[in-house]
Amino acid sequence: MSRPLTSEADLVERAQRGDGDAYDQLVRAHQDIAFRTAWLVSGSSADAEDAAQEAFVKGWRAMARFRPGAPFRPWLLAIVANEARNRRRSAGRREALVLRAAAERRPLDGAASPLEAAVLRSERRDILLAALECLSDDDRAVLGCRHLLGLGEEETAAALGLRRGTVKSRTSRALERLRGELGEAP
């Protein structure tokens, strides 16, 4: 008989009782998205690493204050993003979003795609990224959380320290500005 998977609630309960292994499992499950969130907010791999590291330590120390039954990921991301904001570098030193080299060469529609279409789609990605880089840190962070990391409104709100309604309106305005950067604004 297979052993039942440990639920997040169980891990949270154990971690709140001081079980370091349980906390380890909780954090490991979210460390990639936590690090990427920190990277989007801080703009630097080094800062993101420091931020995530500090946040994990702080999270452990704050486990007693975690509300049982609440989802763990938004809580962790909020701590990570807060640390990342404290480390945000100047815009001039920000690491840019870049595409994977392999992806640039690979036609999105598979081998059957006409070469011209593949080239156009590759250019489109480049231009979209370039436009994202032209946005303010706040706009880039909200679009990054919502659409690159795929966080929900609630999680984005927690990560960026905003109200849910603010996330909604800021996302909309950031998309408008992105549209403007792309030369599409009405």
């Binding site: 380890d24 080094a46 420091d50 330590v57 595409l99 659409h147 030369g183």
Partner: protein, 242 residues
């Protein structure tokens, strides 16, 4: 409408052929474009990060006395993954302080002792060494004396805030620092003295006895044959380092 990039005279531009349709729909299309783009972004690799701690989290109602030094190093209670030490660079602040850049931090004692020394009055500590302290560090909350120098403890509203170790240089190694290759290290000045600031969590090895433990961000500087080591997240501000 299609997303067709247009080329200008200077090469690639950010000008696109305008699409027709309701604004909301256009924005939805743009959001979807971003979601497709996510799969193509070259995200930085997630580094190996310590998560596991050996000391249970504090309980709100069972708070320990403020002066319990152990709280100051709750951070040091992490157990890092055991890994080989791969030095990729060395920085010397003085003959006694060496910083090693490493790919991975070594495992550390999960319940280290801070080993500050014997408690003394601050006046006595000042007699042991000629201290030149930045203005915000001139009134420690507690002082300790050890064989190699003195330790000064500063409390904040929620417990210990900083520890300043002032150590005599005697030509032998005093402190080794093991720092992730990606952690920022800055050269700074503390009231005219040369120093180094390590911005992230790292491992400190006190070669004169206390051994290794995890350390918070630390500012190090030397003055008049003494090495000053200030461990605090707010070290730069506390020491007015530039």
């Amino acid at each position: 409408m299609t997303w067709r990039p247009r080329r200008g005279a200077s090469g690639q531009t950010l000008t696109w052929r305008r699409r027709r349709g309701a604004p909301g729909r256009i924005l939805n299309d743009l959001a979807r474009e971003l979601e497709f783009l996510a799969a193509e972004v070259d995200w930085p690799d997630t580094p190996q990060l310590a998560t596991r701690a050996a000391i249970p989290p504090r309980r709100r109602r069972a708070r320990r006395p403020r002066r319990r030094v152990a709280i100051a190093i709750a951070l040091a209670a992490l157990v890092l993954a055991t890994a080989a030490l791969a030095a990729t660079g060395v920085i010397h602040l003085s003959s006694g302080v060496t910083i090693h850049r490493v790919e991975r931090l070594p495992s550390v004692d999960p319940a280290p002792e801070l080993a500050l020394g014997r408690p003394v009055a601050f006046a006595e500590a000042q007699k042991l060494l000629t201290l030149k302290l930045p203005p915000r560090l001139r009134r420690p909350d507690a002082a300790y004396a050890s064989d190699v120098g003195v330790n000064l403890l500063y409390l904040g509203p929620r417990g210990p805030h900083a520890v300043l170790a002032v150590l005599r240089e005697d030509g032998a190694g005093l402190i080794d620092k093991l720092v992730y290759t990606s952690t920022r290290i800055r050269r700074v000045h503390v009231e005219g003295a040369r120093g180094i600031f390590i911005a992230g969590v790292h491992v400190v090895d006190f070669l004169y006895g206390p051994g290794r433990r995890l350390s918070q961000p630390t500012l190090l500087w030397t003055r008049d044959g003494l090495t000053y080591r200030l461990e605090s997240r707010d070290a730069l501000e506390l020491a007015s380092a530039r």
